[in-house]
Amino acid sequence: MPAQTDISDSILEVPPPRRRRRRDWTGLLYVAPALVLVAVFFLIPLGMSIWMSFHAWPLIGVPRWIGLDNYARLWGDTSFWSALVFTIQYTIAATVGLLGVAFVLALMVQGEGRAIAFYRTAYFLPVVTGFASASLLWAWLSNVDAGLFSPLAQDLGMTDGRVNILATFTPAFWSVTIMVIWKMAGFYMVIIMSGLQAIPTDYQEAARIDGASWGQRFRWITLPLIRRPFALALILAVAGSMLAFDQFYIILNGGPQNQTVTVVYRIFNESFVSFRLGYGAALSVVLLVILLVLSVVQLWLLRDKGDQS
């Protein structure tokens, strides 16, 4: 009986070597499906991305090795660089907006009580709707004829007649950025809030008794202690914004005049509209390097100074 041998094993506590080896294999067996998926759908494509970037790779036909030509071409590709500049511009606007709004919201909902719990849920609800749904919703709201923003502004006397906010760059850009803040602020609110709640109340109490004002306590206790969650929120917001695609594709279709084409959008066009897969792969590799560098730089800038000394 297997049960019997098990008991005798654990009582005698002499694990025979064969049994140990079998347990080794069991552990690996349980991990195997995860490992296969990661290898096939992540590591191989990652290697292929780099390999493809050295080729002229059409959808139909034979790929041709061209060495660094794709990268050389990329160097002079103004449409890629303008996409990168636009993506950085959007990342700055979205990150500042998101973290600013999230910070205020986090301060508002860090307490307890049923009303606060309700506010927290309300602010968080747009997060779970998904970027495609939120973008489709915003495409309707921003539409000049059937939407809400333009007619409302006209009825309130803010504008003379209907203004098409998606027709020119500045209002279109801010409309999308505000959508992203509306949709994602709740997410960063929760991250920052978990940091605020981790601050021991004793600290605040002690400072209050010592006569520190609200502003002083905020500057010298709250801010230094939420450095870590804030760093996490910053990294996630920057990475997420650098990879933006859905909202610019769905709401603006890259317009007006292709001014809102992000880097991922550019890769999408190159690989899946023009079917220059090799060049698309080269752009992907550059994007990957940019993001890795950004993450490292941010981690370094926001490292805990306490760990250093």
Binding site: D24, Y30, P33, V40, L46, Y119, T129, L136, W138, L243
Partner: protein, 295 residues
């Protein structure tokens, strides 16, 4: 409901709070409630606007029905390709499939990382987790070719496999921690009772890490339900479209005119399951979010 809780809070406050504090509290609650309305309004508008009569749908304001309730927008959505039910099923198959496969793969992996020893264990764990650092957008081009080679292009199964892989770093990490939190004594006791192998995992441990499983499944479902870019690239056959891809086609319209009523109805269909799941499983969701944040 909020009104009563506000009153309840005031009653619970120290009686000697003074007029000024009470005054501040009211200002806070009014401001917080206004912000809540701001965040909820777009969701309310799009759901309400989808039920307007066709005659009302042509006027932008107000974005809710005034002359009666109508399912007309939903009926018109039937005219895009197959019926909307077909595309909802596609989305449901992909999302439920991703959730189940993620659980099926991440639970044994998390169990193994928590309890077993095998060669290169640490390296394998770091390898699986580190994929979160690499944006999947940068491997989309080769994925497209790879799926074609495997005969999985234009299949929902291909999408499920990719979505599951993207869920793995979070899910394996989550499950490893869940198993770590289970005391070893429980397992020892079960082993003495003769339980072992896969039965141990399913019958004894499964129940103890259920909250972790729910969190992993919930995130997998929601992310698969909402994913857009991979679905847009990998599904070219209209019969296979998931809801976000279909609705983007609806949003660009036909013959130069856009049926915004249909867009509103579609957005509602896409949003409602997410909102309901979140409201029911809020605890599991926040647990996943903060667990991810610790990492």
């Amino acid at each position: 409901m909020t009104a009563t809780t506000i009153v309840g809070q005031d009653a619970a406050a120290p009686p000697r709070g003074g007029g000024r504090i009470k005054y501040h509290r009211w200002i806070f609650h009014i401001a917080a409630a206004l912000v809540a309305i701001l965040f909820l309004a777009p969701i309310f508008w799009v759901v309400a606007a989808g039920f307007r009569l066709p005659s009302e749908a042509l006027q932008p304001l107000p974005p809710w029905p005034t002359e009666g309730f109508s399912f007309d927008s939903y009926v018109r959505l039937e005219n895009y390709g197959q019926s909307i039910l077909h595309y909802t099923m596609n989305s449901a198959i992909v999302s439920v499939g991703t959730a189940l496969l993620t659980i099926g793969v991440a639970v044994p992996a998390g169990y193994s990382f928590s309890r077993y020893h095998f060669p290169l264990k640490g390296l394998v764990f770091v390898l699986i987790l580190s994929t979160i650092m690499i944006p999947f957008q940068s491997i989309l081009t080769p994925l497209f070719l790879l799926l074609a080679k495997m005969g999985l292009q234009n299949t929902l199964l291909g999408l499920i496999l990719i979505y599951t892989t993207l869920q793995l770093p979070f899910s394996v990490f989550m499950m490893r921690n869940a198993f770590d939190a289970v005391p070893k004594e429980i397992e020892e006791a079960a082993r003495i009772d003769g339980v072992k192998g896969i039965r141990m995992l399913v019958q004894v441990m499964g129940r103890l890490v259920l909250p972790g499983i729910v969190t992993v499944g919930l995130f997998a479902f929601l992310n698969a339900w909402n994913e857009f870019l991979a679905a847009l690239v990998l599904l070219t056959d209209q019969d296979k479209f998931t809801l976000p891809v279909l609705m983007t086609a609806v949003r660009y319209g036909r013959y130069g005119s856009v049926d915004w009523g249909a867009v509103q109805a579609g957005v509602t269909i896409m949003m409602i399951p997410c909102l309901i799941l979140f409201l029911i499983l809020q605890r599991s969701y926040i647990r996943g979010l903060t667990a991810g944040a610790v990492k």
